[in-house]
Symmetry: C2
Subunit: 581 residues, 2 copies
């Protein structure tokens, strides 16, 4: 096997084109081995094998610096830069992350996981090179899907000012995670259809030079193009056309489904069926489909991850013009939702907690200053959410709940979630965000409130004394467990409270608690800094009430086991009971 002799990028420079093509076949075997057993980004990595080989063949990493956008396509890069064991040897799967990672290799420059950042990050590397009087190439590799993100467009626009070596490889596979959205994709098509010769050219319009490679899975074409731009003295785009999922037939056909995939049988393409059961994505989609059919003003909005609220291609088609996918453009999504609400529609925009980070200013300025009644659904907002350092869902309480005018709700079960969503869609007074529960679909047989317009009224679900537990959202079940444990151990039933509102303090209820309680425990599924517990501690600060805040430490976790993190933060009922006794 050729791969046996490849331990660093210099090793592939000895191979001829035929061997490089053969190497691509071997690399795909390594990708398949890892992806079929462990899951991961299949489509992006299968599509980029030849281009990554050609990049390493032509350029001299790490002197020449590659910055991969999202870096979900960096597997071949990892294989060629000393990390092949993580693909070919099952015992070493956990050696690497799914993204570029400077702690793993000198060939990686940034931990990256969000889209559209590569050009700006690479601009910094290039400018630094120039100021220090050094040489070498800086190459950003960005997919067509990421181009619609504001940060990428800002970066491309600025890159034209660099006036020195800078190369942007645009990996155009005509797909985002789902299909692309936005006018610029017509231009990419025009460029593809004209062999890159269309006069109207987005990249040139942004002040960049431009080259076109018709077959971005043809190693020889790629090497020729990259060799031509190596050591170029000004910024240029190399637009390569690749096939997403190239080399694995199911992925070439069903591109959206195979963008990221759980473990599967390579022969059949099938994955083992997991428990099945209820899922908030499907439930949310079903609910919204019904709402939309009854009210043409209801609009479901996504930003490139429609499936996070269950909008599969079929559901999107069924929803028609009442479903909007803006592509990777979260800033636009929030501002547009504000405009929709202002003009009488009922927009519901959903994305992951981590991706809402793109929209702090839009939530504040475009939405909340204007108090327009749009609904934001915050997905995977939990320690139970995504576990990669770049996709954590534990910061949204700190980020969003301190923005004025926003009503941020934390439902504790399925019925409460849909009651809150229904209320939010039907009311006209507030911008509302709702944390979609993330710790499984819990049902309640107790009635849930339907009107949440009296803001910041917490709900006492068990009246007790001495100790009160304020158990927010996903940690309500932990609160129940803790309440039972305290009652069992002490014989005194504590009060259990569902705060529901993350954004405000129920001063009346908290004031009443001082009469027959001496300790308040807060539980929240997010970092403590800037969070819910701090508001409660601040309220009781001048009083005799003891307040114990439980939540997560402010840190960037990476590839963690939930149980470990809960334990490290004293977030089991037993630990909390032991702390307070």
């Amino acid at each position: 096997m050729l791969i046996d002799s490849i331990n660093s990028p210099t090793d592939i420079k000895k191979l001829d084109t035929e061997q490089l093509t053969a190497l691509a076949v071997e690399i795909r075997k390594g990708l398949m081995n890892r992806l079929s057993k462990r899951g991961g980004h299949l489509g992006p990595n299968f599509g980029m094998v030849e281009a990554t080989i050609a990049l390493h063949y032509v350029f001299d990493s790490p002197r020449d610096k590659f910055v991969f956008d999202v870096s979900h396509q960096c597997y071949t890069h990892k294989i060629l830069t000393g990390r092949k064991r993580a693909f070919f040897d099952d015992a070493h799967f956990e050696d690497i992350s799914g993204y570029t990672n400077p702690e793993e290799s000198e060939h990686d420059f940034f931990n990256v996981g969000h889209t559209s950042t590569s050009v700006s990050l690479a601009c910094g590397l290039a400018k630094s090179r120039d100021l220090k009087g050094e040489s070498g190439n800086v190459i950003a590799i960005i997919g067509d899907g990421s181009l619609s993100g504001g940060e990428a467009l800002e970066g491309m626009d600025y890159a034209a000012e660099l006036g020195s070596n800078f190369i942007i490889v645009v990996n155009d596979n005509d797909m985002s995670i789902a299909e692309n959205h936005g006018g610029l994709y017509k231009n990419l098509k025009a460029l593809r259809d004209s062999d890159g010769k269309a006069e109207c050219n987005l990249f040139r319009a942004m002040g960049l030079d431009y080259r076109f490679v018709a077959d971005g899975n043809d190693t020889a074409q790629l090497i020729a193009a990259f060799s031509e731009v190596k050591d170029i003295d000004h910024p240029t785009v190399v637009h390569i056309v690749t096939k997403k999922g190239k080399g694995y037939a199911p992925a070439e056909t069903e591109k959206e489904n195979w963008h990221w995939h759980m473990p599967f049988d390579p022969e059949s393409g099938h994955s083992p069926q997991f428990g099945g059961g209820e899922d908030y994505g499907d439930l949310t989609c079903d609910y919204l489909m019904k709402k939309m059919k009854n009210d043409p003003r209801v609009v479901a909005m996504a930003a490139a991850v429609p499936v996070c609220i269950g909008f599969t291609p079929e559901k999107r088609a069924e929803a028609g013009r009442q479903f909007i996918d803006v592509g990777i453009a979260e800033e636009h999504a929030v501002a547009m939702a504000s405009g929709l609400a202002k003009n009488g529609c009922k927009p519901v925009f959903a994305t992951h907690s981590s991706f809402f980070q793109r929209t702090y200013d839009q939530i504040s300025q475009d939405l909340c200053i204007n108090s327009n009644p749009a609904t934001l659904l915050v997905n995977t907002a939990s320690v139970y959410g995504m576990h990669d350092i770049t996709h954590l869902g534990i910061f949204d309480i700190a980020m969003m709940s301190n923005i004025p005018n926003l009503v941020y709700l934390a439902p504790t079960n399925c019925e409460e979630y849909f009651a809150m969503l229904e209320w939010s869609i039907e009311q006209n007074s507030y911008p509302v965000a709702i944390r979609i529960p993330c710790n499984g679909v819990h049902h309640t047989y107790s009635p849930v409130d339907t009107d949440y317009s009296a803001l910041n009224r917490y709900k006492v679900t068990q009246q007790g004394s001495k100790t009160a537990i304020l158990a927010l959202g996903d940690f309500y079940q932990l609160g129940e467990e803790l309440a039972a444990l305290i009652a069992e151990k002490t014989g005194i039933v504590p009060t259990l409270i569902n705060p529901r509102y993350i954004t405000g303090v129920d001063e009346t209820l908290l004031g009443q608690l001082t009469e027959d309680h001496d300790t308040v425990i807060t539980l929240e599924d997010g970092i403590l800094d800037g969070g819910f517990g701090g508001k409660i501690a601040g309220f009781y600060g001048p009083s005799k009430m003891k307040v114990c805040n439980y939540g997560l430490k402010k840190e960037f976790l990476d590839r963690y086991a939930v149980e470990d993190v809960l334990k490290a933060n004293h977030l089991t009922a037993e630990q909390i009971y032991s702390d307070i006794s």
Copy 2:
């Protein structure tokens, strides 16, 4: 005077072109009256007089809906929509804000003050119109400077998908606040130079139709172009070329200086000299110029507001390639700063607190996950900062201080500020943000620490007992005042502490305080929710220590008097003393 008969947009529809041209002259008199006496955005408003008249002449506001980007050019719109008294009658200056404001008029749809939001907001209005089966035009009016912002580029890209009436008026005066930066401005020039006929066209490349108006200060040309696109059935750009500051010679010549201007004598263009004295902008610029001369790796970065850290055109020229203005592209700036730092440079990026809101995700993902040692200077971060609802500087502590890995520092005087800045530039371990003091330039004769690498060590500046005051940043002087008052009234000297680090808790010191203190008072110049005091209250929650947090209520203030806000939030030494006694 024609203006006497103009009380709503319908009134100008009766005028002929000659009268409309005469009306423009009268309107500029009203603008001059207000701007010379009260200050405001001069250049943008003087340049847009004819275009605004033509828009209202052709379209039927508010059925046809205008969304002004930044809305710092909306004065003529206000004059034509029933608010002319605020320009012609000095007693009514305070009737209006400097931006569009739905509370003032049905012709305004959004409170806007940040750049690059108009297209996305207007997309929402248009989509809503379509879903409700209504008709009418939706028109976004955006300046060339705002086009470089990611939100605007996302919005333009998405707009092409609307498939119905949508008009983007690009007001191209070839200026941002300072000069434009970015490759797209070459394309705008090519379009201007070719009468809009250049084949390579940014707007068409984004999937939009396109029209060109060579003289955007010629009412007849504008009326013709707007009439042509009225009721158009698809999205289009109307690119109009205007002169910034048109009609006032000093503003036409010195465009940057007259973008926003304090009150002035219209004859001479001169403003009364205010006290002079020291200013953190100039001091910061002088410091950075010296650093840059001694170290080619130091880079000063701005995003369209270089003067906020003193970089006038002369200083920018002097700094040469060590000064970077990325234009309106804050996301790019933070990511690029991370790249610069990663590759060994020492970037210092400064902008206003309110504009850092654009960069939450970039600070978190591009910078802090990667722990790159870039420096962020947060300007006008204070209740003493800007007073418009869209430019408040009271949210950055809540937004930034809860991001892991960031070291956010709050200097209490000039010497400490520069010591922190010096330390930040020279260290290689942490991303650092510094709140530039905003309550005047205070000096100290005590030595200040030069090394801040032992994180989260607060500084005891006066050892006392019973009460400890943690006085953060700009509120340190308030802390001194309060300490003196407590000593005077009670005879017991309180402990005064300069926390310095916003991002962490000095657990050792706080633990020691429990020995001979029973009350801790925190003072911070920002909202309490998500802020510094909450961390202290959380730390002491389980203990007997009483904690009183002082800061601002979580709310969007607008055009406030600082003294009123301080009083309403109990932020005078007398009020605090009275509260705690």
